[in-house]
Symmetry: C2
Subunit: 475 residues, 2 copies
């Protein structure tokens, strides 16, 4: 113990609770401030005893939350103080920027040693972000089989099942009995850290079936594996996109699935915990794309955040100037009736809101595959109906308010008609634009919003100002 | 067989493939049109042989997709033709409206019989949507223990772990050996359909530990359960919100977790497949709420869809009139310089886009708990920096274009300044509004967009028109 002051006693007393794990969190789910204070003080004091007792033994995901909550200098100091006691799998739980920063400050020897201990999917997760040179150096320090396995995973493209899979699995031949299988598992030291099914393979490693552990436990020792295995096992080709693989997991409620190469040879296993991450990421991606932001992270700098958002704003700027030029066509009308300038953003804005409602539903339904050719036409009709109904409702409402405001029921009638037109346009744009983008292989989440807004702005301004010009005979 | 024409032979030939399961899907993930045609024809012909062979044997989720793809009358006919062969768990895979429609057309006897066969979580999923009377009638037809179990689940509020849990589980006392446990599983007929861990309980049903199946399989028969069980098992209180429970699953990579009552007695088990659904739903909810739509489903009618979207549009209408009244303050200025009316939507619109970028990131980060008190201040500063940077960039850009368009560099300068002001306002509103809403216990996804748009519209119009009025000395 490096010191025995009161402060440290208190730290250890609180730490006693903190070590329990779930207790490091406050009620709102953030890491407790007092715990972080103690950790910070322990880092400053180089209090290894406290750090080993109360930080090193956290669950990897808790450690990840702690790393994200403390300052960058504290992070590096903590990792270097813990040395071998730092569990590198915590790095799979933090932002990419933080992961890279920590890894850069670690000696390659230490990374290699840690990676040798990890499940291959976690190891790949950390290795894939490193530059070629560091990757090679670390791989070269690993035992041969380990190295070959990790290289194979890394050879598969990003976002494929092959890249995400774990290469440790249990596989037995079909002619073994339940008893032999259990004995094998009792004796073999080289089993994966945890598993929920075993695979059945032929001598050439070709997948012939799978078997859940509960099935083995319910069956008598003398029964042959081939008589109780499942033959329909939804094997996942290693080249399959992770999103598609995730859909298979959801559809068939899988806990894990065999990953096979082009010859149907078993090369790894994809597990539900990785798939849950994929599902989260994909849902997040749609939400971020609809909001006009890419895959930025909270730890990104001002410059890189700004840069990643500029493209979307630039595209929208084009749309905005297009809408402005539509208004420009009616300069003379606005000069005569300024009320039009005051009211026109209402028509365009309400159309934009209605359009984005329809678009949100459509994009989500396409992502979950609830919307397809069998019901597309029915949904288009429904949306047109909703647009008509809400157009009538809001047309009348806005017409009355605007008419009363400017004491001119001509204007009220004109805005009502324009609203109706724009709400129907919004509904049709909101459904057809994502459908068409999807049909032509574009991601509807990325680009739908720009097109829909263009339609509702242009239609809104054109309908409102055009009707007014015609009605009031402005020339 | 009801007929032996060529058409039917063809149907059966194609059906031979179709039965395989994965083959009912076309490449884009929708159900194959030719398969649906055959199913439709078989329903019309009352061809029971085909339906039993090629439809009844589908996986529940595949059956769900088929039910969603065919017409309502076909659906009811199919279910009634299949009778006892129809697997009711397919109903857990379809839209609520479709589920209710089918259940209403089924006799309560058949529902009760099917529910007796199901896992309790699926049974509850179907029962919870029924009205009190039908629910009671069905429950009364079930055996006592079954009835008590289902009632207990139904007594927990919607969206809690208790409502989602499965009441079938395997539990053993701590003093049993691995051998005894395996023998028990080999002999007991009343085990759950599938399971990945067993629980360890004391004589009063209090939870003392848990054990993954792979651990049992690796351990010698003579070893006592208490020596190999895990004691930290993250038990989930039955009253816990399902979203919170899902976060525990994600954090600790759980496959299943014990659900306990207020006395720490084991009442059920929550499994990862239910949690995946919760994660999906929650992610979907945020996306839908940001887009201004509630929990509508694709099968909803025009009227109910229209009604569910009206509230959001009404709130936005208030905002739109507020923005319009800001423009109204500067009527005289617009009358003199119509160019302002043409350009003002650009200032407001670009601010709105920038604001919703920041807001999207913030809402998502709050939902995933990546944003909390430890980094909030840093992120606010970052967003302000991004707003300043993009404000300068787009201010200059728009200023040059607008100045050139109207051949008036006063207007260019004014719009540049207004853009800068609005982009900073957008960034600050985009980050602080969701943070404040979250702080005060409101759901930031539901209401952030309205407030942010209000800020960017009002600031945009006020800054642009106000600066112009001041600069050109309009009185």
């Amino acid at each position: 113990m490096s010191s025995t002051g009161d402060q440290e006693n208190e730290r250890n007393a609180v730490g006693e609770d903190a070590y329990d794990g779930s207790d490091i969190y406050a009620e709102d789910g953030s890491v407790r401030s007092d715990y972080l204070m103690h950790v910070g003080a322990a880092i400053a004091d180089r209090d290894l005893l406290y750090l080993r007792q109360h930080v090193a033994r956290l669950h990897a995901s808790e450690m990840g939350d702690v790393l994200e909550a403390i300052q960058p200098e504290q992070r590096r100091a903590l990792v270097s103080l813990l040395g071998e006691d730092f569990d590198l799998s915590a790095l799979t739980e933090v932002d990419e920027a933080i992961r890279l920063d920590i890894v850069e400050h670690l000696p390659n020897e230490q990374i290699a040693a840690a990676i040798g201990e990890m499940d291959s999917d976690d190891a790949v997760y950390i290795l894939e972000d490193l530059d070629q040179e560091d990757q090679e150096e670390i791989l070269s320090k690993l035992p041969f089989t380990e190295r070959v396995r990790l290289r194979r995973s890394l050879d598969y493209p990003e976002s494929t099942a092959g890249r995400r899979m774990q290469t440790e699995f249990v596989a037995v031949p079909p002619f073994w009995t339940v008893g032999q299988t259990i004995d094998y598992m009792r004796e073999d030291d080289d089993l994966p850290e945890s598993f929920t099914q075993i695979f059945v393979i032929d001598p050439t490693f070709k997948l012939v079936g799978a078997l859940d552990l509960d099935r083995i436990l319910r069956t008598k020792r003398s029964v042959k594996i081939e008589t109780i295995m499942r033959e329909t096992v939804h094997p996942i080709p290693a080249e399959m996109d992770q999103e598609e693989a995730a859909q298979l997991f959801e559809q068939y409620d899988l806990l894990s699935a065999a990953v096979v190469d082009e010859n149907n040879r078993l090369v790894g296993v994809l597990t539900i915990d990785d798939v849950v991450d994929v599902i989260q990421e994909e849902a997040e991606e749609d939400l971020m794309r609809l909001g006009g932001v890419g895959d930025e992270e909270l730890s990104d700098s001002i410059i890189s955040t700004s840069r990643s958002r500029v493209v979307w704003l630039l595209v929208n700027l084009g749309t905005a100037f297009l809408a402005a030029s539509v208004i420009g066509l009616f300069e003379a009308t606005i000069q005569q009736i300024v009320a039009l300038a005051i009211l026109m953003p209402i028509v365009a804005g309400m159309g934009g809101n209605a359009g984005s409602q329809t678009m949100t539903v459509t994009v989500r339904a396409l992502a979950t595959r609830d919307l397809d050719i069998h019901n597309a036409w029915r949904i288009v009709r429904r949306e047109a109906g909703v647009g008509l109904l809400n157009g009538l409702l809001f047309g009348v409402l806005i017409g009355i308010v605007a008419g009363a405001w400017f004491q001119d029921y001509n204007i009220g009638g004109i805005i009502a008609a324009a609203m109706l037109i724009n709400m129907i346009a919004a509904a049709l744009a909101g459904i057809t634009i994502p459908l068409l983008l999807d049909r032509f292989g574009a991601d509807p989440a990325v680009s739908s919003a720009v097109f829909v807004t263009t339609v509702t702005d242009v239609t809104g301004f054109f309908a409102f100002l055009g009707l007014a010009t015609w009605w009031f005979h402005v020339s």
